[in-house]
């Protein structure tokens, strides 16, 4: 018979941790206290594995109003206004129940935003799935997409962007990262602090059920056959919408001393974190917490992850006014505790004290420094050379194949299920390099994007991480926006495996480097480890969510070719390579090679130049060269503008390389022939190369080589059909 594990081990604590707890308390913790430690010291809540590495991120900048450490980061956009944003992962819940998992992910990150006093104005996401050939993957994707829409659409917050990538490593462990963006006046930013002895602690929103107990320990384990998922949490976007209005109203009226949403580890983490940040004590009476079903235990009340709940601290004289506002919005709000001055975290059940531990003991979890080791595959794969790789005979067919690859094809099957025009701010919606929103009542705009190439990060996590940052910034620059801050979603396998921890630490290293050179601070983020199924890790996937600023929202462009006869120019040094490319994976079924080089100084100059050209109004379109290489980038511009183009590529070497090889820091722009000299001069002044490739016009994309030989001739309409239909035909 198997030996009964001790409770603390069942709950996910190690022997060392348990001893440490006994030492702090000077006694053994009771059942409930053990549960509190187990959740707060779980990786998901404590970042015990990742904290030392995350310190590498640059988090300061002239626009930063709030960096990491609060519910979300905040960045100044002038006129006393700020943008608040954050990424959150909901990977394991989505693997178990795709609709509700994704929906509650959106709900959770949205609460992080309005917790700060900001009105949510946009959502984005970053998704990773297995291959679409697999019916189970299609089931996951349909569910996740419906869930994101089901929640976000009902909230009335437009989902304006995102990215999605398909690869077999995500087959059973999909990634669902959601990002929310809000707008607030500087002087209305509210923080998650329980200050003021004697102040009241108010719990507002949904009743507490027994759902989601131990959600955070669930997120801190690998998925396996035996994994027991907690009872599924269902999101109620309708309640959240009312909660947004009620919370923003009480914050607007300055009734709120501190506020925090209930996320992972529910009431436990929110109350402990609020006291921890403020350096106070807190006391909660579980008998006062409204429960949904009969017989919910104190343990469940404290650990439940029932959705749509907020915890706030008020001064006693404001209690009635606050309750009245919640009542008007039809939202339940109950005083459940108070702030104390003894630095103790105390739980009562009526008159009985049922847990009593120092706040700091809960919030200052031990820090781990896991071992890291370079995996064997790394050196082997990066030294791959394309020598001997056959060049396909018909390069036009290759272009069609690439346009049909779900990683390149139109994602409109996905984003048309999201309301992206609500709130009347969407200047550029999904489908472009970045979304642009106008800021009502001002000429200003903000741009936003999520990026991250999982294959690059597998082959070279450090460079892949840097590229994720550079590419996000480039995407913003391509619509004319200046990057002002980023949030990250770091998705990796089990950090207790040295190779995985190496990937993690390398990726953060690379991202930090890029952030420093490009001068973009990290203001918030999320770490999701244990993305493994049956011992197999996902491709390491740091996701970057980035915000850009436009002084004039009207001065933007997209990638679409506009006018026949416009000149097509390639900005940036063109050094394509086949390693790590979508072409190599799709056509040759090889995932190997070095990741494209990235010169960050060069990247910075190119982006500045691109923004300058857009702001002067000298360019008509801009689009960056990404997956699929130059040929795909130009094809995308043709499709978006429903217009052909004729270009000549005066490059040496393998045709498949300069057509489909991938490269960093390259942007395709167009301008009228009259503006051409100016544009080239501006590029020269910025010390970046600019090469005229050809011009727009006609119904075909025609690509010639240096000798004038046609390599590709495709009807734009035909390309559009392939590109648009590829994902939707799977459903």
């Amino acid at each position: 018979m198997a030996e009964q594990k001790p409770i603390w081990q069942e709950m996910g604590l190690t022997a060392g941790e348990y001893d440490h707890i006994c030492e702090i308390l000077g006694r053994e913790p009771n059942y409930l206290e053990t549960g509190l430690f187990a959740v707060l010291w779980s990786e998901h809540c404590s970042y015990k594995n990742s904290r030392p590495v995350l310190k590498k991120f640059p988090t300061e900048g002239k626009r930063v109003l709030q960096g990491p450490g609060e519910n979300a980061g905040a960045v100044d956009i002038g006129d006393g206004q700020a943008v608040v944003f954050k990424v959150e992962s909901h990977n394991h819940p989505s693997a178990v129940e795709p609709y509700e998992g994704a929906a509650t992910g959106v709900g959770g990150v949205t609460r992080d935003i309005f917790t700060m006093g900001a009105r949510p104005i946009a959502s984005l996401n970053s998704l990773r799935f297995g291959s679409l050939d697999d019916p189970f993957v299609r089931h996951l994707l349909s569910g996740v997409v419906a869930g994101i829409g089901g929640y976000g659409n009902r909230l009335g917050v437009p989902t304006v962007g995102g990215n999605i990538f398909f690869h077999s490593s995500f087959k059973e462990n999909p990634l669902v990262n959601a990002m929310c963006v809000g707008l607030v006046d500087h002087d209305k930013i509210v923080r998650g602090r329980a200050t003021g002895t004697g102040n009241l602690v108010l719990l507002a929103g949904a009743k507490t059920g027994s759902d989601g107990v131990h959600g955070c320990t669930f997120a801190s384990e690998e998925l396996s056959e035996e994994t027991e998922a907690p009872a599924v949490q269902r999101g109620d976007p309708f309640l959240e919408k009312l909660l947004i209005e009620a919370c923003l109203e009480v914050m607007e009226k300055d009734y709120v001393v501190g506020i925090q949403d209930l996320g992972a580890a529910g009431l436990t983490s929110s109350s402990a974190e609020m006291a921890g940040r403020a350096g106070t004590g807190i006391e909660i009476d579980v008998s006062l917490v409204p429960t949904r079903d009969e017989g919910v235990t104190p343990y469940e009340i404290m650990l439940s992850e029932s959705q749509e709940r907020m915890l706030m601290v008020l001064e006693p004289q404001d209690e009635q006014a606050v309750k009245d506002i919640f009542a008007r919005w039809g939202v339940e709000a109950t005083v459940v505790g108070k702030v104390t001055d003894d630095n103790i975290y105390r739980l009562r059940d009526g008159d009985d004290v049922i847990a009593e531990v120092p706040v700091k003991a809960l919030t200052d979890s031990p820090v781990w420094y896991p071992e890291q080791r370079e995996p064997e595959y790394y050196q082997k794969l990066r030294s791959w050379k394309p020598d001997g790789l056959p060049i396909p005979e018909d390069l036009g067919i290759v272009l069609s194949q690439l346009l049909a690859s779900p990683n390149i094809a139109s994602k409109e099957w996905v984003y048309n299920q999201f309301d992206h025009t609500a709130l009347l701010n969407t200047v550029i919606g999904p489908g472009a390099d970045a979304a642009v929103l106008r800021i009502k009542g001002t000429p200003k705009g903000i741009a936003m994007t999520t990026d991250g190439n999982s294959r690059y990060c597998y082959l070279d996590p450090r460079r892949g991480g840097a590229i994720a940052v550079a590419e996000a910034a480039r995407n913003l620059s391509c619509v004319g926006a200046e990057p002002v801050g980023l949030t990250d979603g770091l998705n990796f396998g089990n950090p207790e495996k040295p190779e995985i921890y190496w990937q993690f630490s390398q990726a953060v290293e690379g991202m930090s480097e890029a952030c420093r050179t490009l001068d973009i601070p990290v203001v918030s983020g999320n770490v999701s480890f244990y993305n493994e199924s049956k011992g197999e890790a996902i491709f390491p996937t740091p996701v970057v969510g980035m915000i850009g600023f436009l002084p004039d929202a009207g001065k933007h462009v997209t990638g679409a070719f506009h006018h026949p006869g416009d000149k097509i120019i390639l900005l940036g040094k063109f050094f394509p390579q086949l390693g790590a490319s979508e072409y190599l994976a799709l056509v040759h079924e090889l995932e190997t090679g070095a990741v494209p080089e990235l010169d960050l100084e060069q990247e910075k100059r190119i982006q500045e130049c691109c923004r300058l050209l857009i702001r002067n109004g000298s360019v008509k379109s801009a689009h960056d060269c990404a997956e699929g290489g130059l040929a795909v980038a130009v094809a995308e511009c043709c499709i978006a503008g429903k217009m052909g183009a004729t270009i000549e590529l005066p490059f040496e070497g393998r045709e498949d390389n300069f057509l489909f090889g991938e490269v960093q820091s390259c942007i395709i722009i167009t301008c009228t022939p009259r503006e051409l000299a100016d544009v080239l001069q501006t590029a020269a002044d910025s010390e970046i190369s600019a090469l005229v490739l050809g011009q727009t016009g006609g119904n075909h994309l025609v690509i010639h080589d240096a000798a004038g030989c046609a390599l590709i001739k495709q009807r734009v309409e035909e390309m559009e059909k392939i590109w648009r239909g590829s994902i939707s035909k799977c459903f």
């Binding site: 178990v96 129940e97 509700e100 949904a206 059920g209 027994s210 759902d211 998922a229 009872a231 599924v232 949490q233 269902r234 109620d236 309708f238 949904r292 079903d293 029932s306």
Partner: protein, 84 residues
């Protein structure tokens, strides 16, 4: 020929959003006697099977495989013979 009536409802502990909303709405219409509302869906399948045991097994399989989301839902069903 058999007819199977399958009733699908949410598992215990899983929030019944519709039920909650309908309950509140009925109350605000003045139906104070309403204590609780639960919602579910049902399916009526007509099966061209002669054998009751086979029909029963098929229905159960279909529920497990497709009709019921076992992460959140539970089900019961009734089978009765009907004329062609």
């Amino acid at each position: 020929m058999f007819e199977a009536r399958i009733y699908i409802s949410l598992k215990r502990g899983i929030l019944d959003l519709e039920g909650k909303t309908v309950n509140q709405s009925l109350k605000s219409l003045g139906y104070d006697q309403v204590e609780d509302v639960k919602t579910g869906k049902y399916l009526v399948l007509t099966l061209s099977t002669a054998d009751q045991a086979a029909a029963e097994q098929a229905v159960q399989e279909m529920c497990e495989k497709l009709l019921v989301n076992k992460v959140m839902e539970e089900y019961t069903f009734e089978l009765r013979e009907v004329a062609e």
